[in-house]
Symmetry: C2
Subunit: 277 residues, 2 copies
């Protein structure tokens, strides 16, 4: 694991690391923000951030304004890339499939299967790496945006006990029912709809084994709201399953990092509250 | 004046506008953040932000995290581009001359003279445009980064009474004495050193006609510190002239927007305090 960028930020340090991922079979980059508490030797909880389609770690670390809240709450903020990348990695010309569009699952279909294993990477390899290199304390939360919101919700629901807290911005809550998800799931998982249900937050919520409270922010001026995001499906599923959900429809907000920056402070507070228990 | 982008942000609205500049003879873009107070019809003060070499309005509006403080203090935040641009505008292959490097002065030399009139643009045309299109209240401050820090300091010093407050991040305080400034001034102003002195904060401070307090933040890990920035020259000039300066050397910080984001809240507070008088 090699540090390739570092910047002083809000009394802490924003870093970018590169490492050879055994899970993905390629070199990966990730953002790590170390709050002042971590630099002063205190063991800190970790918040994982999963980014959306086309993003790398750079979008969130440069545009979300997350560092000030991570500093304030003493949280290490870890931001992986959205897929394996490289000349030897399968890709597609479209922005919503292949490199930059890993969908936080382990692909079972060719040509994606060998490298596209983002679920194992995020849930297993990455925390192991972070715990080994930084002073963590066994508490972790997960959040993300759009495709990464889908990732945060599904990984938290699929791995009970692993995350103490979960939240999402503009998540794809029902990928099996919308074009982005149907395209990606067909490619990565094949035509078996039962396999799709295992990576669909609305499907998973019915069988959730722990009532981890979910915070979701969604802009009501988001161009993807009606076709791709459909937060009302998550709301209905949570009501049916009696699963705690705070869904905030934010008037006038869109799908951009201006939206995320405006409310990410509330998400840090949500995760910090869970870590304090 | 035509709005080309808009995003809800911290209860207000980040906009990008385009207009045909009479001063520069080209179309210019600028960022305008309207705080919630402005959207609610309240007349607001304006803070102008001058960006550094190579930047457009996009760098500061996406990376500085300024909107939350503008929202909190009820300040309209206006961010022009760093030079005229276009196929008909003179340019140079280097990043530090020509398009993206206007140095906030009116060029007197060919081939720059016809379009490179950033001083008149920032001090006259832009405020006139802003006052015409938005609900301002006749108070304005100026700040900026690096080349834009030079711009903020020199424009405030050259136009007493126009700005109620001034601050800068990592400013080029003595362009006549450093490579960036010497190259730009030779090109834009010719070899006449007396003309250079009129655009050099360290020279101007000796003759300042009003004691406008200056806030400067400077990272001590800034790679440009020793060769290009030299804040000690500003400190000495202010001491000689008995001009109020708060120079904060920030340990470990560099020249990036991570640095700006960490302290821009203090700069908004500095300007808001001046507007409150």
């Amino acid at each position: 694991m090699k540090r390739i960028e570092q910047y002083a930020s809000f009394g802490g340090r924003q870093e970018v690391w590169e490492h050879a991922s055994k899970t993905l079979g390629v070199d990966m980059t990730l953002g790590v923000y170390l709050p002042p508490a971590a630099l002063n030797g205190k063991a800190c909880p970790v918040l994982y951030w999963l980014s959306g389609l086309t993003c790398t770690e750079q979008n969130v670390i440069t545009k979300a304004g997350a560092q000030q809240y991570a500093a304030q709450h003493g949280i290490i903020f870890v931001c992986p890339d959205t897929s394996p990348r490289g000349e030897d990695v399968a890709d597609d010309k479209a922005y919503d499939l292949g490199q930059g569009a890993g969908f936080y699952l382990n692909a079972t279909q060719a040509p994606w299967a060998p490298h596209f294993r983002m679920e194992d990477y995020v849930v297993e390899e990455l925390p192991s790496l972070i715990d080994q290199h930084f002073n963590t304390r066994g508490q972790q939360g997960i959040s993300g945006h759009s495709m990464g919101g889908h990732g945060a919700l599904t990984l938290a629901l699929r791995h009970p006990g692993v995350y103490q807290s979960v939240s999402a911005f503009s998540p794809i809550v029902a990928p099996s029912q919308v074009p982005w998800g149907q395209k990606a799931f067909s490619a990565y998982l094949g035509d078996n709809r039962e396999a799709w249900a295992e990576h669909d937050a609305v499907e998973l919520i019915a069988h959730a084994s722990e009532p981890l409270p979910i915070l979701v922010d969604q802009g009501d001026a988001d161009h993807f709201l009606e076709e791709q995001l459909k937060p009302e499906l998550l709301e209905a599923a949570c009501q049916r399953a009696n699963h705690p959900l705070t869904l905030r429809m934010q008037p006038g907000y869109d799908h951009s990092y201006y939206f995320i920056a405006s409310f990410i402070g509330d998400h840090f507070a949500h995760h910090a509250k869970a870590f304090a228990h």
